[in-house]
Symmetry: C2
Subunit: 173 residues, 2 copies
């Protein structure tokens, strides 16, 4: 039930088409709540069908612009205030750490080195993004920056942890 609220949240900020929303899912939300085109178009149809959105304009090439209704805003607020986020996490990267015993020490050290490098790369990429984006003072910019800061802290932590873990494993030999 989260994609549903992601769509409502984006349309609470501004009216948009499925095509417009996909650009946001592929950029700002790519590391937070990825979604595919088929998911988004399907969800827009369902939300419009149940009155949380309405088609406020139709443009060239079959374009449909969706606007959130009062019912949609109520649903979004109630989701934010009355429900707890699902905090289930899956990390394939970390799962693999459990099984490093089946590899040789050299192979394990390589695995952790690659993870450290990947975290460092991602961190650099986020710094680049932060410098490059033209941050406005609209809601999505203000709160999007808080989310970006989370990404910066996360990738920094991951790099430090992976380097530490690599040294731990290297020390076992």
């Amino acid at each position: 039930m989260t994609l549903r609220h992601a769509v409502l949240g984006l349309l609470a900020d501004r009216t948009a088409s499925g095509y417009d929303l996909m650009k946001v899912f592929d950029t700002s939300l790519a590391n937070v709540w990825p979604a595919t085109q088929s998911q988004v178009y399907g969800e827009l149809g369902k939300l419009a069908g149940s009155g949380l959105l309405e088609v406020s304009a139709e443009g060239p090439r079959g374009r449909k612009e969706y606007t959130i209704t009062q019912q949609g805003i109520d649903e979004l607020r109630s989701w934010l205030i009355d429900t707890e986020p699902d905090r289930t996490r899956r990390s394939e990267t970390l799962l693999r750490v459990f099984f490093l015993g089946v590899l040789t020490p050299v192979e394990s050290v390589t695995y952790l080195s690659v993870e450290a490098a990947r975290a460092a790369d991602e961190h650099t990429e986020l710094e680049r993004l932060e410098a490059q984006v033209d941050w406005g003072d609209d809601d999505l910019s203000v709160y999007g920056r808080l989310a970006l800061e989370y990404g910066l802290r996360l990738t920094a932590m991951q790099e430090e942890w992976a380097s530490w873990a690599r040294d731990q494993v290297a020390g076992l030999t």
Copy 2:
């Protein structure tokens, strides 16, 4: 395709039944790769059917003990060495941050305070776990500790970030 390898990884350490594996999925792996009973039993059946596992003993109450085969070990090693982990992340907690603009500043501050407290609680819980568990020197203990350290660093980071973000939002008024 990851649950499959989680099962193989656990059975590479020791022979076990589905029931035994569920205890691990509900404890050590609960925050890394959660799985339900119906998933695990299903996967064991498929893996035995394709020769990566075999039923090495049958016990009371229909208990079946599974042992990994050489083919299973090969598959596990090839997964670890030749394939990249899927790093797709979804965070409902962070998604909500994007939409805090629809709440009042007070409501947003509350949301971030709750997140900070939750991260602090989880951190404390992990510290308790670290002290309590009888860490052996088997592979799963050694590498499980590295994963636990990741959890400690993650929850510490989350608490700091949420407190920082709360202060940022409080400063907007």
